[in-house]
């Protein structure tokens, strides 16, 4: 039986003063050291002001004092949940300046590694999103699987978080013996687990209630604010640098079978058995952003499999890194790659010496976060973590 509420009485009873609430920088659902100042009227947020910079480590300034290969470890520490993809972005930017061509084998190796990185990043994104919404178990499930990816990465380069593996010129080492079999075994075991995640979150009634129709981001607004990656595709914009980017980047994926994960004519790609979209979901809401990420995990599994097949039969070396103090030609280049959280761009200006004159990292999370104040206007406080979590930002990348 629905309770009858007299609007006038409620309004009179709970009238409150405007209040400024400080959320973060030490807050579990701000994904690191993000500080949000909420202007609230009762339960409703009228304005959100994000404050960033708590993790600023002067990466760009440091980049002006070291050679490109020496800067690779600093890229690791940008998006530390997808360090391989950060390495890739910078490595390809330097290679673009040097006009360095990779062998077929080295390209396929990079696809294997960067798509595994994407899975790892999206798993954390999914797990922590569950945490934001008050469920703990998906987080444990996600970290269990991610741990296995870290094991695979450890076998490749010895590190579990900051790899410095992909480097200008190629990679620091070839895959060890038996690694491909281990990887295949992992993928076989991951695939059925994805449907468990869908049960835990994607199709969970509470999860749907907390995310559907919340934080609506229109495609126009997404483009206006420079949102990229799953945030942009969750709004229905069909754009993925792996297909639409620069030739140097897209040729890595030449001949691979993959569809950009985006809702087209009301439908998502049907290459796997995905759960259907709930009736309450509106394109561009938190649920869709989450769903795009989940589908990208499945797609990344396919891509890793295809890349492994090609890698086995490919010719050439695995990519010998350039010299540590290799002289750079004079000039400037800008290159963006599709990192898990969006388009990660690097800009390099060289004056002809081995040390760049200027480096710049265009962070995807930085632009994705800048739309927060639009999404959080007029929503209840409890929905703020749901909205910020759905953007899946990493502070290391925002503050650099």
């Amino acid at each position: 039986m629905a309770t009858q509420v007299d609007d006038k009485i409620v309004e009179f009873d709970v009238r409150t003063d405007e209040m400024l609430v400080n959320m973060g920088p030490q807050h579990p659902s701000t994904h690191g050291v993000l500080r949000l100042v909420l202007r609230t009227d009762g339960e409703i947020v009228s304005e959100v002001t994000p404050h960033i910079g708590y993790l600023h480590r002067c990466a760009e300034k440091i980049g002006e004092n070291v050679t490109p290969r020496q800067w690779i470890p600093y890229t690791d520490r940008m998006d530390y949940l997808a360090a391989m993809n950060m390495n890739l972005g910078w490595a390809m930017c330097v290679e673009k300046l040097l006009d360095h061509q990779l062998s077929e084998k080295a390209k396929h190796l990079r696809v294997i590694i960067s798509e595994l990185g994407r899975i790892a990043s999206h798993l954390v994104g999914m797990g922590t999103y569950g945490l934001d919404l008050g469920t703990f178990s998906p987080f444990l499930y996600a970290f269990r699987e991610r741990e296995k990816i870290l094991d695979l990465f450890e076998d490749v380069c010895g590190a579990r978080l900051t790899y410095s593996y992909i480097t200008p010129g190629g990679c620091t080492a070839d895959l060890p013996d038996g690694w491909l079999e281990n990887c295949e075994q992992f993928l076989q075991q991951l695939e059925p687990v994805i449907s468990e995640y869908h049960t835990l979150l994607t199709t969970n009634a509470i999860f749907i209630k907390r995310t559907c129709g919340i934080g609506l981001l229109t495609p126009e607004m997404a483009l206006d604010y420079g949102c990229t990656g799953p945030v942009l595709r969750g709004s229905g914009v069909d754009y993925d640098l792996r297909r639409d980017g620069e030739e140097r980047y897209t040729e890595m994926y030449d001949g691979y079978a993959f569809e950009v994960i985006v809702q087209k004519d009301g439908n998502y790609p049907r290459d796997h058995d995905y759960p259907s979209v709930p009736v309450d979901a509106v394109l561009g809401d938190c649920w869709h952003r989450f769903y795009v990420r989940m589908l990208e995990v499945m797609q990344a599994i396919d891509l890793v499999r295809q890349a492994m097949d090609r890698y086995r039969s490919a010719e050439g070396d695995w990519g010998i890194p350039i010299k540590l103090t290799q002289k750079l030609p004079k000039g400037e280049v800008y290159l963006e790659t599709e990192a898990p959280k969006g388009q990660m761009g690097f800009y390099l200006v060289s004056d002809g010496s081995p040390i760049p004159w200027r480096v710049r990292a265009r962070s995807s999370s930085f632009s994705n976060l800048s739309v927060t104040h639009e999404l959080c206007r007029g929503i209840p406080i409890a929905d703020v973590p749901a909205v910020v979590g759905s953007l899946d930002v990493v502070m290391g990348e925002i503050d650099r």
Binding site: I52, H56, K61, Y334, Y347, R360, S367
Partner: protein
Amino acid sequence: MSLVADLKKKFGDKILAEKLDVIDPWIEVSVEGLCEVATYLKDEPSLAFDMLNCITAVDYCEPDPKKAKKVDWEPHLEVVYHLSSTTRKHTLVLKLMLPRWKNDQEGELPEVSTVSGIWSTADWHEREVYDLSGVHFVGHPNLRRILCPEDWVGYPLRKDYEMPLDYHGIRGR
């Protein structure tokens, strides 16, 4: 690139220079013409630069007098805009050349008008450029430091920037 020819025809002396024989071709726009050119680039359906990827400032200045004799440029500041179009799938680089200081008065920031009304991405990106490289974006709705603390002194990505020795009792080196 026919795009550059078209722009030159349309905007005349607002396009100051172009360099097309480099890896990423760029065109130089005059400071006064920036907003007009930017609006056209975004709104013209055949161009449709709907995304502003990045704004960067590059400081050309050599503090070491010995090395300064060898460089082939006059000290200046460049602001670089990387644009792309999600529908037309093309990219463009715009550049602005600014003096390092307005009227050569050290401490007076050079001025550019903001493009945050055209692409909202510019809001935070311009704040970052202001914070780290010291460019004043005229008309910006909220030009405050974004990465450094609000009471920070100086612009760290300027080449003649000196690390402070002390910040609120924290030793600098």
